[in-house]
C-alpha cells in the first residue's frame, strides 16, 4: 500500500480515486487469496482487515468532519422518527397536513405571494419551537436569518405573549406539577432571548452566515429551528450568471441539509412567487427556478382563493397533497383548544389533487 500517495491526496476527489484503487486491489486480493490459497472469501476478508488495521492505524478520517456515522438501518430510522418531536404551528389543520407539525432534520420550504403570511408563520414557529416538552413542544431555540427586513419585533412580542398565556391556560386546566415548573422559565423575556437574529443584506453575507452556522449551532446546542426568511430575495437581482446562482443555491441547500441532520434541527426557507409567462396564460410559480424545487423536502404553498388564505402541501415524502384554509388573527386565545394566532375557517377543508 502506497502511503505517500494517499497522504498528499487528502481531497475528496483523490480519495475516491485512491479508494477505487484500493477496492480494486482488495477485490483482487480477496479473490486471489481465496483462489490461490484456497481459503473462503470471508476468511480472506478477515485477514485483509487485520493487515489494513496494522498499516493504516487511525489516519482514515470521516468525510465531512462531523464525526457521526451517517448510516443506519431503516429500523433505527423508524424509531427515531417516531420519538422525534414536531414543531407545532398551533393551527391544527396545518399540523395535520404536515403530519404533526414541522419536522426536525428536514428542510421545509414555504412559498407564497407577498402579504400572504410567510413571515408571520416563521415568527410563530420561532416562538413555538421553545414550548416546553410537557406541553408538547421540543424546548429548543431558534435562529432567524432575515434577508428582507420583514422581521417585526413587536409582532413577535404579541405572538410570544399569546403563547405564554395559552400555556398558562393549559396548566391551569390540567394541574400537573411539571407544567408549573416549566412555566417558570417559559417567560416573554426568555423566549425573546432565545431567538438569534441575523440580518443578511446580500447573498455574500447569507453564504457566509450559512458557512458559520455549524459552528454557531455547536455552541448553541439547543437550537432546533433555523429560519431563512427570504432565500429568494438576495438571489433575484445582480445575477447575470444563472449557472453560478444555481451552483450557489445548490451548495446552500446541501449545507443546510447537513446542518439539519447533524444538529437535529428543522430548517425553514421562505420563497417568493414569480410569474411565468406561458403561451396563452401566465401562472404564479415559486421563484429560483426548477432545480431549486429539489432542495426542500417538504414544500408548502400559500395562496389566495378570493379572500380566503389557503395552504397547499405541495411536496412531501410522507403526507399526501392537500389544501387547508387558514386566517391570521390578532392572537387572543380563548380556550384550551384555541390556536393562538391561526384559526381555521369553518367548513373549508378541501383536498386538492
Amino acid at each position: 500500500m502506497d502511503h505517500s500517495g494517499r497522504r498528499s491526496a487528502d481531497t475528496d476527489g483523490c480519495k475516491w480515486d485512491a479508494g477505487k484503487r484500493r477496492d480494486s486491489v482488495r477485490w483482487c486480493f480477496v479473490l486471489l487469496a481465496s483462489l490461490e490459497i484456497g481459503i473462503s472469501r470471508e476468511e480472506a476478508l478477515e485477514a485483509l482487515q487485520v493487515v489494513r488495521q496494522e498499516c493504516h492505524g487511525d489516519t482514515a478520517r470521516t468525510p465531512g468532519g462531523s464525526g457521526a456515522t451517517r448510516k443506519c438501518t431503516a429500523l433505527e430510522l423508524l424509531e427515531e422518527e417516531q420519538t422525534q418531536g414536531f414543531i407545532i404551528t398551533f393551527c391544527s389543520a396545518l399540523d395535520n397536513i404536515l403530519g404533526g407539525g414541522v419536522q426536525l432534520t428536514k428542510i421545509t420550504e414555504i412559498c407564497g405571494a407577498p402579504g400572504v403570511g410567510k413571515t408571520q408563520l416563521c415568527m410563530q414557529l420561532a416562538v413555538d419551537v421553545q414550548i416546553p416538552e410537557c406541553f408538547g413542544g421540543v424546548a429548543g431555540e431558534a435562529v432567524f436569518i432575515d434577508t428582507e427586513g420583514s422581521f417585526m419585533v413587536d409582532r413577535v412580542v404579541d405572538i410570544a405573549a399569546a403563547c405564554v398565556q395559552h400555556c398558562h391556560l393549559i396548566a391551569e386546566a390540567q394541574q400537573e406539577e411539571d407544567h408549573g415548573k416549566a412555566l417558570e422559565t417559559f417567560s416573554l423575556e426568555n423566549i425573546l432571548s432565545h431567538i438569534y437574529y441575523f440580518r443578511c443584506r446580500d447573498y455574500t453575507e447569507l453564504l457566509a452566515q450559512v458557512y458559520l452556522l455549524p459552528e454557531f449551532l455547536s455552541e448553541h446546542s439547543k437550537v432546533r429551528l433555523v429560519v431563512i426568511d427570504g432565500i429568494a430575495f438576495p438571489f433575484r437581482h445582480d445575477f447575470e450568471d444563472l449557472a453560478l446562482r444555481t451552483r450557489l443555491l445548490n451548495g446552500l441547500a446541501q449545507q443546510l441539509i447537513i446542518t439539519a441532520n447533524d444538529h437535529r434541527a428543522a430548517v425553514i426557507l421562505t420563497n417568493q412567487m414569480t410569474t411565468r409567462i406561458g403561451q396563452s396564460q401566465s401562472t404564479l410559480v415559486p421563484a429560483l427556478g426548477e432545480s431549486w424545487g429539489h432542495a426542500a423536502t417538504v414544500r408548502l404553498i400559500f395562496h389566495w382563493d378570493n379572500t380566503q388564505r389557503l395552504a397547499t402541501l405541495y411536496k412531501s415524502p410522507s403526507q399526501k397533497e392537500s389544501t387547508i384554509a387558514y386566517d391570521i388573527t390578532v392572537s387572543v386565545p380563548v380556550g384550551r383548544d384555541m390556536p393562538s394566532w391561526v384559526t381555521l375557517s369553518p367548513g373549508k377543508d378541501c383536498t386538492q389533487i
Partner: protein, 366 residues
Amino acid sequence: MAAKKLRRAQLSQEMCERLSRYQITTCQDFLCLSLLELMKVTGQSYYEVQKLLCKVSRACAPKMQTAYEMKLRKSVNPSSAFLSTTLHSLDRVLHGGVPCGSLTEITSPPGCGKTQFCIMLSVLATLPVSMGGLDGAVIYIDTESAFSAERLIEIAANRFPAYYDSDEKLLCMTRSIHLYRELTCCSVLKRIMSLEEEIILKKVKLVIIDSVASVVRKEFDTKLQGNLAERSNFLTRGASVLKYLAEEFSIPVILTNQITTALSSGPGVRADLVSPADDLSLSEGSSVSGKRDSAYVTAALGNTWSHSVNTRLILQYHDLPTRQLLVAKSPVAPFSTFFYTIEKSGLVLQDLNLMKSTLLFQSQDE
C-alpha cells in the same frame, strides 16, 4: 460587506497575493467559488480550505442579536419608530403610523390623492417630535413634476395653524424639504445610490419617491421579450438599496405606484393576482363591477415589487368627494378600510356612518 477586501479578512499576505493572481480580491469572489476550485487556487488541503472559508465568512457575516436586545433597543426610543400620519384611525391600525425602517407603498388610480398624501407627510416629517413628527429634513424625488410648493404651504398653514403662525416658520419648513426631479430610470437609480451621503449631511428623516411606476412603465414594456427580467432587476436593485437606507438610518421610505388594468383572457391569468386586497374590484363600494373574466385592476410593477415593499396602502375613489384608503399589506395590521376627503389641510378621515346619519337627520328635518 461583500466587497470587503480579503486582506482585511485577516488572510496572510502571501495568500492574498496568490489569490489576486486569479482575480480573487474580495470576500464575495472567495465565497462564490466551490471547494474544489478553492483548493486548486489556494493550493491547500480540504481541511485547510474549510478553515479559510470560516475565516473569510467571519469577516463578512452579520452580527448576531437576540430578539430581546432588539425589543430593548426599540423601547429606548419609541417615538422614532413611526411617523404619525395624524389620521388617527389609520395610525391606530398601523400601531403608530408609517413605520420607520421599512418601505411603504401608496398605490392609486390617477387623481386620488397620492401626491397630496406625500406632500402632507413631508410636512409632518419636519414637525418637532413633540407634535408627532420626526424633526428632520425630507428628500422628495419627483418623477412626474407634480410637487407644488404652494400646496405644501397651504397644507401646513391649514393643518397646524397654531404652530405655523408666522411666515418665517413656513419658510423654514420649506427649506428642509429637498426636491429632486429625475425623469429616467437610470437617473432615479443613480439618485438612490447617492442618497446615503445626503441623508447624513442634511439629517434627513423621510425619503419619498413619487412615483416609481411612471418612470418604470415609460421605459419597460413588459410585452417585449427580456423586458420583464430587466424591469425586475432594476426594481429589486432599487428596493434593496432603499431597504438598506431605511434600516441603517431608521427612516421611513415612501414610494408611490400606479394602478394597472390587466385584461385576462381566461381563468389562467387569475393566478397572477397576488392578494385579494390588491384586486380593487373586490373591495367594497368600488365602481368596477364584478366582471372577473374580462378585466381586473391591480397595482402595477408586478409581484416581485410587491414582495419588496413591506406596507402597502391603496387609495381609490368611492362616492365623490369621498375616497377610500385600504391597508392592503402590512406586517402588523389586518385589511382595513377608511374613508377620507381631500381638504385644504390635506387628507381628512371621514366616518361614513356619521356622515350618513347626519344626512338622514338633515332630510328628516326638512
